[in-house]
Assembly symmetry: C2
Homo-oligomer: 279 residues x 2
Amino acid sequence: MGIESVSEVRSHGGVQGVYKHASSATGTDMTFAVFVPEGNRPMPVLWYLSGLTCTHANVTEKGEYRAACAEAGIIFVAPDTSPRGEAVPDDLDGAWDFGLGAGFYVDATQEPYARHYRMWSYVTEELPALVAANFPADRARQGITGHSMGGHGALTVALRHPGRFKSVSAFAPIVAPGQVPWGEKALTGYLGGDRAAWREHDAVALIEDGKRLPELLVDVGTADPFLDKELRPELLEAACAAAGIPLTLNRREGYDHSYYFISTFMADHVRWHGERLTR
Amino acid sequence: MGIESVSEVRSHGGVQGVYKHASSATGTDMTFAVFVPEGNRPMPVLWYLSGLTCTHANVTEKGEYRAACAEAGIIFVAPDTSPRGEAVPDDLDGAWDFGLGAGFYVDATQEPYARHYRMWSYVTEELPALVAANFPADRARQGITGHSMGGHGALTVALRHPGRFKSVSAFAPIVAPGQVPWGEKALTGYLGGDRAAWREHDAVALIEDGKRLPELLVDVGTADPFLDKELRPELLEAACAAAGIPLTLNRREGYDHSYYFISTFMADHVRWHGERLTR
Protein backbone atom coordinates (compact mmCIF):
# COMPACT_ATOMS: atom_id res chain seq x y z
CA MET A 1 0.00 0.00 0.00
CA GLY A 2 2.60 2.51 -1.10
CA ILE A 3 1.89 6.15 -1.57
CA GLU A 4 4.04 8.61 -3.46
CA SER A 5 4.57 12.17 -2.28
CA VAL A 6 3.60 14.69 -4.94
CA SER A 7 4.45 17.63 -2.68
CA GLU A 8 4.96 18.34 1.00
CA VAL A 9 5.01 21.97 2.09
CA ARG A 10 5.29 23.50 5.51
CA SER A 11 2.20 25.50 6.46
CA HIS A 12 0.69 26.69 9.72
CA GLY A 13 3.34 24.79 11.65
CA GLY A 14 2.50 21.45 10.04
CA VAL A 15 2.87 19.84 6.63
CA GLN A 16 0.40 20.13 3.78
CA GLY A 17 1.01 17.13 1.57
CA VAL A 18 -0.37 15.86 -1.70
CA TYR A 19 0.00 12.16 -2.40
CA LYS A 20 -0.64 9.72 -5.23
CA HIS A 21 -1.20 6.00 -5.26
CA ALA A 22 -2.42 3.19 -7.49
CA SER A 23 -5.95 2.53 -6.24
CA SER A 24 -7.27 -1.01 -6.24
CA ALA A 25 -10.79 0.32 -5.65
CA THR A 26 -10.91 2.50 -8.75
CA GLY A 27 -8.27 0.81 -10.88
CA THR A 28 -6.64 4.19 -11.48
CA ASP A 29 -4.06 6.41 -9.88
CA MET A 30 -5.72 8.54 -7.21
CA THR A 31 -4.48 11.79 -5.68
CA PHE A 32 -5.38 13.07 -2.22
CA ALA A 33 -4.27 15.79 0.18
CA VAL A 34 -3.42 15.47 3.88
CA PHE A 35 -2.57 18.22 6.35
CA VAL A 36 -0.73 16.99 9.43
CA PRO A 37 -0.27 19.49 12.25
CA GLU A 38 3.03 19.77 14.06
CA GLY A 39 3.61 17.16 16.72
CA ASN A 40 4.68 13.60 17.20
CA ARG A 41 1.57 11.83 18.41
CA PRO A 42 -1.54 10.10 17.10
CA MET A 43 -4.03 12.77 16.10
CA PRO A 44 -7.73 12.72 15.30
CA VAL A 45 -8.72 12.85 11.64
CA LEU A 46 -11.27 15.04 9.88
CA TRP A 47 -12.37 13.78 6.48
CA TYR A 48 -13.50 16.36 3.94
CA LEU A 49 -15.36 15.16 0.85
CA SER A 50 -15.45 17.69 -1.97
CA GLY A 51 -18.22 18.76 -4.30
CA LEU A 52 -18.94 18.54 -8.00
CA THR A 53 -16.06 19.49 -10.34
CA CYS A 54 -13.53 19.56 -7.51
CA THR A 55 -10.31 17.68 -6.92
CA HIS A 56 -8.38 17.57 -3.64
CA ALA A 57 -6.93 20.93 -4.65
CA ASN A 58 -9.97 23.18 -4.22
CA VAL A 59 -10.31 22.83 -0.49
CA THR A 60 -6.55 22.54 -0.06
CA GLU A 61 -6.04 25.95 -1.64
CA LYS A 62 -9.24 27.76 -0.69
CA GLY A 63 -10.65 26.00 2.36
CA GLU A 64 -8.83 27.96 5.09
CA TYR A 65 -8.79 24.93 7.39
CA ARG A 66 -5.11 24.75 8.27
CA ALA A 67 -5.00 27.38 11.01
CA ALA A 68 -7.92 25.77 12.84
CA CYS A 69 -6.64 22.21 12.33
CA ALA A 70 -3.20 23.25 13.57
CA GLU A 71 -4.74 24.79 16.67
CA ALA A 72 -6.98 21.80 17.39
CA GLY A 73 -4.36 19.20 16.45
CA ILE A 74 -6.48 17.55 13.76
CA ILE A 75 -5.32 15.79 10.59
CA PHE A 76 -7.35 16.92 7.56
CA VAL A 77 -7.81 14.49 4.64
CA ALA A 78 -9.20 15.57 1.26
CA PRO A 79 -9.78 12.88 -1.38
CA ASP A 80 -10.51 13.47 -5.05
CA THR A 81 -14.14 13.27 -6.25
CA SER A 82 -13.85 10.64 -8.98
CA PRO A 83 -11.42 8.34 -10.71
CA ARG A 84 -9.46 10.05 -13.49
CA GLY A 85 -7.35 8.98 -16.43
CA GLU A 86 -7.64 8.07 -20.08
CA ALA A 87 -9.38 4.79 -19.32
CA VAL A 88 -12.09 6.44 -17.23
CA PRO A 89 -15.37 7.17 -19.05
CA ASP A 90 -16.82 10.64 -18.53
CA ASP A 91 -20.38 11.84 -18.89
CA LEU A 92 -21.44 11.05 -22.44
CA ASP A 93 -22.26 14.71 -23.09
CA GLY A 94 -19.30 16.02 -21.12
CA ALA A 95 -21.54 17.56 -18.44
CA TRP A 96 -19.89 18.66 -15.20
CA ASP A 97 -22.48 17.07 -12.90
CA PHE A 98 -21.74 13.44 -13.82
CA GLY A 99 -18.60 11.42 -14.55
CA LEU A 100 -15.22 13.05 -14.00
CA GLY A 101 -15.26 15.18 -10.86
CA ALA A 102 -18.69 13.83 -9.98
CA GLY A 103 -18.32 10.32 -8.59
CA PHE A 104 -21.09 10.91 -6.05
CA TYR A 105 -19.41 8.57 -3.53
CA VAL A 106 -21.08 5.41 -4.83
CA ASP A 107 -19.84 2.13 -6.29
CA ALA A 108 -21.33 2.18 -9.78
CA THR A 109 -23.16 -0.92 -10.97
CA GLN A 110 -23.95 0.38 -14.45
CA GLU A 111 -21.81 0.30 -17.57
CA PRO A 112 -19.55 1.89 -18.63
CA TYR A 113 -18.97 3.21 -15.12
CA ALA A 114 -18.86 0.08 -12.95
CA ARG A 115 -15.19 -0.66 -13.53
CA HIS A 116 -13.68 2.60 -12.22
CA TYR A 117 -16.38 4.60 -10.44
CA ARG A 118 -16.03 2.98 -7.03
CA MET A 119 -15.70 6.03 -4.83
CA TRP A 120 -17.72 4.46 -2.00
CA SER A 121 -15.18 1.68 -1.55
CA TYR A 122 -12.39 4.16 -2.06
CA VAL A 123 -13.38 6.64 0.65
CA THR A 124 -14.77 4.10 3.13
CA GLU A 125 -12.16 1.34 2.87
CA GLU A 126 -9.09 1.84 0.75
CA LEU A 127 -8.17 5.42 1.63
CA PRO A 128 -8.81 5.04 5.39
CA ALA A 129 -6.42 2.09 5.45
CA LEU A 130 -3.81 4.07 3.52
CA VAL A 131 -4.15 7.06 5.81
CA ALA A 132 -3.87 4.86 8.89
CA ALA A 133 -0.74 3.20 7.50
CA ASN A 134 1.05 6.37 6.42
CA PHE A 135 0.09 9.15 8.84
CA PRO A 136 -0.10 9.55 12.64
CA ALA A 137 -3.88 9.11 12.52
CA ASP A 138 -5.92 7.92 15.49
CA ARG A 139 -8.65 5.82 13.86
CA ALA A 140 -10.65 5.83 17.09
CA ARG A 141 -11.17 9.58 16.71
CA GLN A 142 -12.52 10.45 13.29
CA GLY A 143 -14.90 13.10 12.06
CA ILE A 144 -16.30 13.70 8.59
CA THR A 145 -17.59 16.69 6.67
CA GLY A 146 -18.00 17.74 3.08
CA HIS A 147 -19.46 20.22 0.64
CA SER A 148 -22.47 19.82 -1.64
CA MET A 149 -22.00 16.40 -3.33
CA GLY A 150 -19.35 15.85 -0.67
CA GLY A 151 -21.84 16.79 2.05
CA HIS A 152 -24.03 14.03 0.62
CA GLY A 153 -21.02 11.74 0.79
CA ALA A 154 -20.21 12.69 4.37
CA LEU A 155 -23.78 12.13 5.55
CA THR A 156 -24.29 8.79 3.80
CA VAL A 157 -20.87 7.43 4.77
CA ALA A 158 -21.47 8.40 8.41
CA LEU A 159 -25.03 7.07 8.51
CA ARG A 160 -23.92 3.71 7.15
CA HIS A 161 -20.90 3.37 9.46
CA PRO A 162 -22.39 3.78 12.92
CA GLY A 163 -19.73 4.48 15.51
CA ARG A 164 -16.95 5.17 13.05
CA PHE A 165 -17.28 8.95 13.25
CA LYS A 166 -17.54 10.85 16.49
CA SER A 167 -18.59 14.01 14.66
CA VAL A 168 -20.44 14.69 11.40
CA SER A 169 -21.06 18.00 9.67
CA ALA A 170 -21.65 19.36 6.19
CA PHE A 171 -21.56 22.52 4.11
CA ALA A 172 -24.50 22.97 1.74
CA PRO A 173 -25.06 19.21 1.38
CA ILE A 174 -27.25 17.42 -1.13
CA VAL A 175 -29.40 15.73 1.50
CA ALA A 176 -31.86 13.79 -0.65
CA PRO A 177 -30.29 12.91 -4.00
CA GLY A 178 -33.22 10.68 -4.87
CA GLN A 179 -35.47 13.75 -4.92
CA VAL A 180 -33.33 16.31 -6.80
CA PRO A 181 -32.03 16.63 -10.38
CA TRP A 182 -28.27 16.25 -9.66
CA GLY A 183 -28.93 13.17 -7.61
CA GLU A 184 -31.45 11.60 -9.95
CA LYS A 185 -29.04 11.95 -12.85
CA ALA A 186 -26.09 10.55 -10.89
CA LEU A 187 -27.90 7.67 -9.20
CA THR A 188 -29.59 6.64 -12.44
CA GLY A 189 -26.28 6.74 -14.28
CA TYR A 190 -24.24 4.91 -11.67
CA LEU A 191 -26.82 2.64 -10.01
CA GLY A 192 -29.57 2.27 -12.61
CA GLY A 193 -33.25 3.06 -12.56
CA ASP A 194 -34.29 1.01 -9.51
CA ARG A 195 -34.97 3.68 -6.91
CA ALA A 196 -34.89 1.14 -4.09
CA ALA A 197 -31.14 0.83 -4.64
CA TRP A 198 -30.77 4.58 -4.33
CA ARG A 199 -31.91 4.68 -0.70
CA GLU A 200 -28.51 3.45 0.50
CA HIS A 201 -27.06 6.65 -0.98
CA ASP A 202 -29.64 9.15 0.17
CA ALA A 203 -29.21 10.66 3.64
CA VAL A 204 -32.88 11.48 4.12
CA ALA A 205 -33.93 8.00 2.99
CA LEU A 206 -31.33 6.37 5.26
CA ILE A 207 -32.68 8.30 8.24
CA GLU A 208 -36.24 7.33 7.25
CA ASP A 209 -35.05 3.74 7.06
CA GLY A 210 -33.72 3.84 10.61
CA LYS A 211 -30.09 4.95 10.36
CA ARG A 212 -29.03 7.39 13.04
CA LEU A 213 -26.36 9.94 13.94
CA PRO A 214 -25.68 11.23 17.44
CA GLU A 215 -25.91 14.82 16.21
CA LEU A 216 -25.31 16.88 13.10
CA LEU A 217 -24.03 20.36 12.16
CA VAL A 218 -24.98 21.82 8.77
CA ASP A 219 -24.36 25.26 7.29
CA VAL A 220 -26.10 26.54 4.17
CA GLY A 221 -26.08 29.96 2.53
CA THR A 222 -29.37 31.70 1.84
CA ALA A 223 -27.98 33.04 -1.46
CA ASP A 224 -26.88 29.58 -2.61
CA PRO A 225 -28.30 29.24 -6.14
CA PHE A 226 -28.73 25.49 -5.61
CA LEU A 227 -30.52 25.73 -2.28
CA ASP A 228 -34.12 25.16 -3.29
CA LYS A 229 -33.64 22.83 -6.23
CA GLU A 230 -30.66 20.62 -5.34
CA LEU A 231 -29.85 20.94 -1.63
CA ARG A 232 -33.27 21.19 0.06
CA PRO A 233 -32.07 21.29 3.66
CA GLU A 234 -35.70 21.36 4.84
CA LEU A 235 -35.93 17.67 3.90
CA LEU A 236 -33.04 16.90 6.24
CA GLU A 237 -34.58 19.07 8.91
CA ALA A 238 -37.84 17.13 8.71
CA ALA A 239 -36.12 13.74 8.68
CA CYS A 240 -33.93 14.62 11.67
CA ALA A 241 -36.91 15.99 13.58
CA ALA A 242 -38.91 12.82 12.93
CA ALA A 243 -35.97 10.62 13.91
CA GLY A 244 -34.92 12.62 16.95
CA ILE A 245 -31.47 13.45 15.55
CA PRO A 246 -30.23 16.75 17.02
CA LEU A 247 -29.52 18.93 13.99
CA THR A 248 -27.96 22.38 14.11
CA LEU A 249 -28.87 23.92 10.75
CA ASN A 250 -27.35 27.36 10.25
CA ARG A 251 -28.90 29.35 7.41
CA ARG A 252 -26.21 31.95 6.67
CA GLU A 253 -27.70 35.14 5.30
CA GLY A 254 -26.33 36.19 1.93
CA TYR A 255 -23.76 33.41 1.50
CA ASP A 256 -23.52 31.43 -1.72
CA HIS A 257 -22.27 27.95 -2.65
CA SER A 258 -18.59 28.84 -3.13
CA TYR A 259 -15.43 28.48 -1.10
CA TYR A 260 -15.98 32.09 0.02
CA PHE A 261 -18.89 30.60 1.99
CA ILE A 262 -17.12 27.42 3.06
CA SER A 263 -13.96 29.19 4.20
CA THR A 264 -16.01 31.60 6.30
CA PHE A 265 -17.40 28.80 8.44
CA MET A 266 -14.62 26.23 8.10
CA ALA A 267 -12.92 27.22 11.36
CA ASP A 268 -16.25 26.91 13.20
CA HIS A 269 -16.71 23.39 11.85
CA VAL A 270 -13.14 22.36 12.62
CA ARG A 271 -13.50 23.59 16.20
CA TRP A 272 -16.87 21.85 16.52
CA HIS A 273 -15.29 18.60 15.36
CA GLY A 274 -12.32 19.23 17.61
CA GLU A 275 -14.52 19.49 20.68
CA ARG A 276 -15.97 16.09 19.88
CA LEU A 277 -12.75 14.44 18.74
CA THR A 278 -10.48 15.50 21.53
CA ARG A 279 -12.74 15.08 24.54
CA MET B 1 -13.58 56.80 -13.11
CA GLY B 2 -16.10 54.00 -13.39
CA ILE B 3 -15.45 50.50 -12.23
CA GLU B 4 -17.42 47.43 -13.22
CA SER B 5 -18.19 44.65 -10.78
CA VAL B 6 -16.95 41.30 -12.04
CA SER B 7 -18.17 39.50 -8.91
CA GLU B 8 -19.17 40.33 -5.35
CA VAL B 9 -19.45 37.46 -2.90
CA ARG B 10 -20.22 37.45 0.78
CA SER B 11 -17.33 36.09 2.85
CA HIS B 12 -16.29 36.39 6.49
CA GLY B 13 -19.12 38.83 7.12
CA GLY B 14 -18.01 41.25 4.40
CA VAL B 15 -17.87 41.32 0.63
CA GLN B 16 -15.06 39.95 -1.51
CA GLY B 17 -15.31 41.78 -4.81
CA VAL B 18 -13.47 41.66 -8.10
CA TYR B 19 -13.65 44.74 -10.29
CA LYS B 20 -12.59 45.82 -13.77
CA HIS B 21 -11.93 49.23 -15.23
CA ALA B 22 -10.35 50.92 -18.22
CA SER B 23 -7.00 52.13 -16.91
CA SER B 24 -5.59 55.41 -18.18
CA ALA B 25 -2.23 54.53 -16.64
CA THR B 26 -1.75 51.28 -18.56
CA GLY B 27 -4.05 51.88 -21.51
CA THR B 28 -5.66 48.51 -20.88
CA ASP B 29 -8.50 47.06 -18.87
CA MET B 30 -7.27 46.25 -15.37
CA THR B 31 -8.78 43.86 -12.83
CA PHE B 32 -8.36 44.13 -9.07
CA ALA B 33 -9.85 42.59 -5.92
CA VAL B 34 -11.16 44.36 -2.83
CA PHE B 35 -12.40 42.83 0.41
CA VAL B 36 -14.60 45.15 2.47
CA PRO B 37 -15.49 44.00 5.99
CA GLU B 38 -19.01 44.40 7.30
CA GLY B 39 -19.85 47.85 8.56
CA ASN B 40 -20.90 51.27 7.40
CA ARG B 41 -17.92 53.46 8.20
CA PRO B 42 -14.62 54.60 6.71
CA MET B 43 -12.09 51.82 7.21
CA PRO B 44 -8.30 51.66 6.94
CA VAL B 45 -6.85 50.07 3.81
CA LEU B 46 -4.17 47.43 3.45
CA TRP B 47 -2.59 47.23 0.00
CA TYR B 48 -1.21 43.87 -1.10
CA LEU B 49 1.08 43.77 -4.13
CA SER B 50 1.47 40.31 -5.64
CA GLY B 51 4.49 38.47 -6.95
CA LEU B 52 5.68 37.17 -10.31
CA THR B 53 3.11 35.27 -12.40
CA CYS B 54 0.23 36.29 -10.15
CA THR B 55 -2.99 38.15 -10.78
CA HIS B 56 -5.34 39.53 -8.13
CA ALA B 57 -6.72 36.00 -7.85
CA ASN B 58 -3.83 34.21 -6.16
CA VAL B 59 -3.96 36.07 -2.87
CA THR B 60 -7.73 36.40 -3.09
CA GLU B 61 -8.13 32.64 -3.21
CA LYS B 62 -5.13 31.45 -1.19
CA GLY B 63 -4.08 34.35 1.03
CA GLU B 64 -6.29 33.60 4.06
CA TYR B 65 -6.55 37.31 4.89
CA ARG B 66 -10.32 37.74 5.14
CA ALA B 67 -10.86 36.44 8.68
CA ALA B 68 -8.14 38.73 10.06
CA CYS B 69 -9.25 41.74 7.98
CA ALA B 70 -12.85 41.21 9.09
CA GLU B 71 -11.76 41.10 12.71
CA ALA B 72 -9.55 44.19 12.42
CA GLY B 73 -11.97 46.10 10.19
CA ILE B 74 -9.47 46.57 7.35
CA ILE B 75 -10.17 46.85 3.62
CA PHE B 76 -7.78 44.65 1.60
CA VAL B 77 -6.89 45.70 -1.96
CA ALA B 78 -5.09 43.37 -4.40
CA PRO B 79 -4.10 44.77 -7.82
CA ASP B 80 -2.91 42.77 -10.80
CA THR B 81 0.84 42.56 -11.48
CA SER B 82 0.98 43.84 -15.05
CA PRO B 83 -1.14 45.17 -17.88
CA ARG B 84 -2.76 42.43 -19.94
CA GLY B 85 -4.45 42.14 -23.33
CA GLU B 86 -3.65 41.51 -26.96
CA ALA B 87 -1.94 44.86 -27.38
CA VAL B 88 0.43 44.27 -24.47
CA PRO B 89 3.91 42.96 -25.39
CA ASP B 90 5.18 40.04 -23.31
CA ASP B 91 8.72 38.90 -22.68
CA LEU B 92 10.26 38.22 -26.07
CA ASP B 93 11.05 34.64 -25.06
CA GLY B 94 7.81 34.16 -23.12
CA ALA B 95 9.65 33.91 -19.79
CA TRP B 96 7.57 34.17 -16.62
CA ASP B 97 9.88 36.64 -14.87
CA PHE B 98 9.36 39.55 -17.28
CA GLY B 99 6.40 41.00 -19.16
CA LEU B 100 2.92 39.65 -18.43
CA GLY B 101 2.50 38.98 -14.72
CA ALA B 102 5.82 40.67 -14.03
CA GLY B 103 5.37 44.43 -14.26
CA PHE B 104 7.77 45.01 -11.35
CA TYR B 105 5.85 48.12 -10.24
CA VAL B 106 7.75 50.53 -12.49
CA ASP B 107 6.80 52.88 -15.32
CA ALA B 108 8.72 51.46 -18.25
CA THR B 109 10.77 53.86 -20.36
CA GLN B 110 11.98 51.28 -22.88
CA GLU B 111 10.27 50.04 -26.01
CA PRO B 112 8.15 48.07 -26.62
CA TYR B 113 7.06 48.28 -22.97
CA ALA B 114 6.75 52.02 -22.31
CA ARG B 115 3.20 52.35 -23.61
CA HIS B 116 1.45 49.86 -21.29
CA TYR B 117 3.83 48.82 -18.51
CA ARG B 118 3.09 51.70 -16.13
CA MET B 119 2.39 49.79 -12.94
CA TRP B 120 4.07 52.42 -10.76
CA SER B 121 1.57 55.08 -11.81
CA TYR B 122 -1.21 52.53 -11.63
CA VAL B 123 -0.64 51.39 -8.04
CA THR B 124 0.49 54.76 -6.64
CA GLU B 125 -1.99 57.10 -8.34
CA GLU B 126 -4.78 55.71 -10.46
CA LEU B 127 -5.90 52.77 -8.33
CA PRO B 128 -5.73 54.64 -4.99
CA ALA B 129 -8.03 57.30 -6.45
CA LEU B 130 -10.42 54.63 -7.74
CA VAL B 131 -10.46 52.84 -4.40
CA ALA B 132 -11.09 56.10 -2.54
CA ALA B 133 -13.96 56.95 -4.87
CA ASN B 134 -15.68 53.58 -4.80
CA PHE B 135 -15.11 52.05 -1.36
CA PRO B 136 -15.43 53.25 2.26
CA ALA B 137 -11.66 53.71 2.47
CA ASP B 138 -10.00 56.05 4.93
CA ARG B 139 -7.03 57.39 2.96
CA ALA B 140 -5.47 58.74 6.13
CA ARG B 141 -5.01 55.20 7.40
CA GLN B 142 -3.23 53.05 4.83
CA GLY B 143 -0.79 50.18 5.11
CA ILE B 144 1.04 48.28 2.39
CA THR B 145 2.49 44.80 2.04
CA GLY B 146 3.33 42.40 -0.73
CA HIS B 147 5.03 39.18 -1.72
CA SER B 148 8.32 38.70 -3.57
CA MET B 149 8.17 41.12 -6.55
CA GLY B 150 5.21 42.63 -4.71
CA GLY B 151 7.28 42.95 -1.56
CA HIS B 152 9.72 44.95 -3.67
CA GLY B 153 6.77 47.02 -4.85
CA ALA B 154 5.48 47.59 -1.32
CA LEU B 155 8.88 48.69 -0.03
CA THR B 156 9.71 51.04 -2.90
CA VAL B 157 6.22 52.56 -3.01
CA ALA B 158 6.32 53.18 0.74
CA LEU B 159 9.87 54.54 0.76
CA ARG B 160 9.02 57.04 -1.99
CA HIS B 161 5.74 58.19 -0.43
CA PRO B 162 6.77 59.29 3.07
CA GLY B 163 3.78 59.60 5.35
CA ARG B 164 1.30 57.88 3.04
CA PHE B 165 1.51 54.52 4.79
CA LYS B 166 1.31 54.12 8.53
CA SER B 167 2.51 50.52 8.30
CA VAL B 168 4.75 48.64 5.86
CA SER B 169 5.51 44.93 5.73
CA ALA B 170 6.51 42.29 3.22
CA PHE B 171 6.59 38.54 2.62
CA ALA B 172 9.81 37.26 1.04
CA PRO B 173 10.51 40.55 -0.75
CA ILE B 174 13.06 41.24 -3.46
CA VAL B 175 14.90 43.92 -1.49
CA ALA B 176 17.66 44.90 -3.91
CA PRO B 177 16.56 44.28 -7.50
CA GLY B 178 19.65 46.05 -8.79
CA GLN B 179 21.79 43.28 -7.32
CA VAL B 180 19.85 40.12 -8.24
CA PRO B 181 19.01 38.34 -11.53
CA TRP B 182 15.20 38.86 -11.50
CA GLY B 183 15.68 42.55 -10.83
CA GLU B 184 18.53 43.09 -13.25
CA LYS B 185 16.51 41.54 -16.05
CA ALA B 186 13.37 43.51 -15.24
CA LEU B 187 15.00 46.87 -14.64
CA THR B 188 17.13 46.55 -17.77
CA GLY B 189 14.09 45.62 -19.82
CA TYR B 190 11.78 48.29 -18.48
CA LEU B 191 14.19 51.11 -17.57
CA GLY B 192 17.27 50.48 -19.72
CA GLY B 193 20.89 49.89 -18.86
CA ASP B 194 21.57 53.03 -16.80
CA ARG B 195 21.83 51.68 -13.28
CA ALA B 196 21.44 55.14 -11.76
CA ALA B 197 17.81 55.09 -12.89
CA TRP B 198 17.30 51.77 -11.11
CA ARG B 199 17.95 53.20 -7.66
CA GLU B 200 14.46 54.70 -7.51
CA HIS B 201 13.13 51.13 -7.75
CA ASP B 202 15.46 49.38 -5.33
CA ALA B 203 14.55 49.41 -1.65
CA VAL B 204 18.10 48.96 -0.39
CA ALA B 205 19.39 51.73 -2.71
CA LEU B 206 16.54 54.04 -1.65
CA ILE B 207 17.46 53.55 2.00
CA GLU B 208 21.13 54.12 1.19
CA ASP B 209 20.08 57.31 -0.61
CA GLY B 210 18.29 58.61 2.47
CA LYS B 211 14.68 57.39 2.22
CA ARG B 212 13.22 56.21 5.51
CA LEU B 213 10.38 54.18 6.99
CA PRO B 214 9.21 54.41 10.60
CA GLU B 215 9.53 50.63 10.99
CA LEU B 216 9.29 47.47 8.93
CA LEU B 217 8.05 43.87 9.33
CA VAL B 218 9.40 41.17 6.99
CA ASP B 219 8.89 37.41 6.98
CA VAL B 220 10.97 35.02 4.89
CA GLY B 221 11.08 31.24 4.78
CA THR B 222 14.39 29.45 5.31
CA ALA B 223 13.39 26.85 2.69
CA ASP B 224 12.55 29.51 0.11
CA PRO B 225 14.43 28.44 -3.05
CA PHE B 226 14.91 32.09 -4.04
CA LEU B 227 16.22 33.26 -0.69
CA ASP B 228 19.94 33.49 -1.37
CA LYS B 229 19.91 34.41 -5.05
CA GLU B 230 16.91 36.72 -5.51
CA LEU B 231 15.61 37.90 -2.14
CA ARG B 232 18.77 38.47 -0.07
CA PRO B 233 17.11 39.79 3.08
CA GLU B 234 20.55 40.32 4.66
CA LEU B 235 21.00 43.32 2.33
CA LEU B 236 17.84 44.89 3.75
CA GLU B 237 18.96 44.03 7.25
CA ALA B 238 22.28 45.82 6.71
CA ALA B 239 20.67 48.85 5.08
CA CYS B 240 18.07 49.20 7.85
CA ALA B 241 20.75 48.82 10.52
CA ALA B 242 22.90 51.50 8.91
CA ALA B 243 19.90 53.82 8.53
CA GLY B 244 18.42 53.20 11.95
CA ILE B 245 15.15 51.79 10.55
CA PRO B 246 13.66 49.34 13.06
CA LEU B 247 13.28 46.08 11.12
CA THR B 248 11.64 42.93 12.43
CA LEU B 249 12.94 40.19 10.15
CA ASN B 250 11.40 36.79 10.89
CA ARG B 251 13.25 33.86 9.34
CA ARG B 252 10.63 31.10 9.38
CA GLU B 253 12.20 27.67 9.63
CA GLY B 254 11.24 25.30 6.82
CA TYR B 255 8.82 27.59 4.97
CA ASP B 256 9.06 28.08 1.22
CA HIS B 257 8.03 30.85 -1.21
CA SER B 258 4.42 29.73 -1.75
CA TYR B 259 1.03 30.80 -0.48
CA TYR B 260 1.34 27.99 2.08
CA PHE B 261 4.01 30.22 3.64
CA ILE B 262 2.21 33.52 3.07
CA SER B 263 -1.12 32.27 4.42
CA THR B 264 0.56 30.98 7.56
CA PHE B 265 1.75 34.45 8.53
CA MET B 266 -0.89 36.57 6.83
CA ALA B 267 -3.04 36.96 9.95
CA ASP B 268 0.03 38.08 11.94
CA HIS B 269 0.76 40.76 9.34
CA VAL B 270 -2.86 41.91 9.15
CA ARG B 271 -2.99 42.25 12.94
CA TRP B 272 0.35 44.08 12.95
CA HIS B 273 -0.96 46.54 10.38
CA GLY B 274 -4.23 46.78 12.28
CA GLU B 275 -2.47 47.84 15.46
CA ARG B 276 -0.82 50.68 13.53
CA LEU B 277 -3.82 51.64 11.40
CA THR B 278 -6.45 51.74 14.08
CA ARG B 279 -4.58 53.43 16.89
